[in-house]
């Protein structure tokens, strides 16, 4: 009688282990953001004429977007999304993790630091919470934005640009964790806020044995929508 009980306990325990592995895959209790690729390194000049590099962003969650200040109406949507994410940051529960917004201009000829400065002022932005930057090295700029962040842009003959409005979320290790191509169907800000929250959970909790669970989530591709 005693042994039958022991046997049941053992068997139950074994079954539980198998079930929990299945449950993890099916219910995905932990969601993560994929580690997509490395964020490109850069050295740019910001709205204050100061140098800003990717190393300055280490340890911060950074939301990037790419535009030019002479852009007609639709670009205001990009700024509105950047602003909305910043204003709703509380919802993401970042804890102690610093957050930064960076807008990189692909029009260095016209977007000089003073131009960027007055544009930033118009959005009540300052370099502590929203950096506007670019570089005169056109080839490097194309490498950074085009090849590194994979955001397409091309100058037209009339001096305006064709480009794909894009937001990129980068973690404190310089890894791209989210890419958002502009869409009118779903609120990009909602998604970004949700993703910031998922990312913060991982950074704040993935230590010790919990790290294994988070790595399992990466392995099982339990990606947040």
């Amino acid at each position: 009688m005693k042994h039958t009980l022991l046997y049941r306990i053992f068997y139950g325990f074994a079954g539980l282990l198998v079930l929990s592995a299945f449950a993890f895959k099916i219910f995905q209790p932990i969601k993560v953001l994929p580690r997509i690729r490395l964020s490109p390194a850069f050295s740019l000049t910001d709205q204050e004429g100061e140098r800003v590099t990717n190393e300055d962003m280490r340890g911060k969650f950074v939301l990037y977007t790419f535009t030019y200040t002479n852009c007609p109406a639709p670009c205001a949507n990009l700024d509105a999304t950047m602003q909305e994410v910043y204003e709703r940051l509380d919802e993401a529960n970042l804890g102690d993790i610093p957050f930064m917004r960076v807008t990189i201009s692909f029009d260095p000829a016209r977007d000089t630091p003073p131009t960027l400065k007055s544009y930033a002022d118009g959005l009540s932005a300052n370099r502590a919470n929203w950096i506007f930057a670019t570089t005169n090295d056109d080839a490097l700029l194309k490498t950074i934005i085009g090849a590194g962040f994979k955001a397409y842009y091309e100058k037209k003959d009339d001096g305006s640009f064709t480009f794909d409005p894009t937001f990129i979320l980068v973690d404190g290790w310089g890894t791209i964790r989210g890419e958002y191509r502009y869409s009118t169907e779903v609120s990009t800000a909602d998604r970004i806020i949700r993703h910031l929250s998922v990312l913060a959970d991982e950074v704040n909790n993935a230590t010790g044995s919990a790290k294994l669970a988070y790595e399992a989530a990466h392995l099982f591709l339990c990606y947040a929508q």
Partner: protein
């Protein structure tokens, strides 16, 4: 009769041990760096190496490629990392020939292919040191997340130093970026991860 009473318990015990072993051997390997599951291949590059030759990342498909950005005047950071890599490869034994180490110069102004070859040879004769034009190096480094700049500091001889991101990057056998190791990775940690990648 006695055996029958013990048998179920023994079977159950065996299952537990097997499951424990299965969990131990199948558990995800914990890498000592940031792991990537990138959907695209690592950015391609071509370098000028000694004897007027060139090498490209794609030449090493089938091998694990460890990429390190540094320069030959580098006083401490680069030798520390390359030293750890050298020790880690020794721990791999015969499998070390499935790993190719490439050092890319962030000092194209001073590092010639010959100087780089001479420098990396001190660590391991199989290591490759390469460079390119300043424009091309800037592009390659940016796409691997490597920032570098001429430092305000100089050595006692008046030589300028270069500040640079000191990560070590591992490309898997299919040409995808797999792990980015932080500066300070030990040879044991590196050997552990390389053994896993070579399993």
């Amino acid at each position: 009769m006695k055996i029958n009473r013990f048998l179920p318990a023994l079977v159950a015990l065996a299952i537990i041990i097997l499951l424990g072993a299965a969990f131990y051997f199948l558990r995800p390997h914990t890498f000592h760096g940031t792991v990537f599951q990138s959907p695209e291949e690592a950015s391609p590059f071509t370098l000028n190496v000694a004897d007027g030759k060139t090498v490209s990342l794609s030449d090493f498909r089938g091998k694990i490629v460890l990429i390190y950005f540094g320069y030959t005047f580098c006083p401490d950071v680069c030798p520390a990392t390359l030293g750890a890599v050298t020790q880690a490869l020794k721990q791999l034994g015969d499998k070390a020939d499935q790993v190719q180490v490439i050092m890319i110069s962030v000092d194209p102004g001073r590092d010639t292919p010959e100087k780089l070859a001479e420098y990396v040879k001190h660590f391991n004769p199989t290591f490759i040191g390469g460079t390119n034009t300043p424009e091309e190096i800037a592009k390659i480094a940016s796409l691997y997340g490597i920032f570098y700049q001429v430092s305000e500091e100089t050595t006692s001889n008046g030589d300028y130093l270069i500040d640079h991101t000191a990560t070590l990057l591992a490309i898997d056998r299919d040409g995808f970026l797999k792990v980015v190791f932080p500066f300070g990775i030990t040879s044991d940690e590196l050997a552990d991860d390389l053994k896993y990648m070579l399993r």
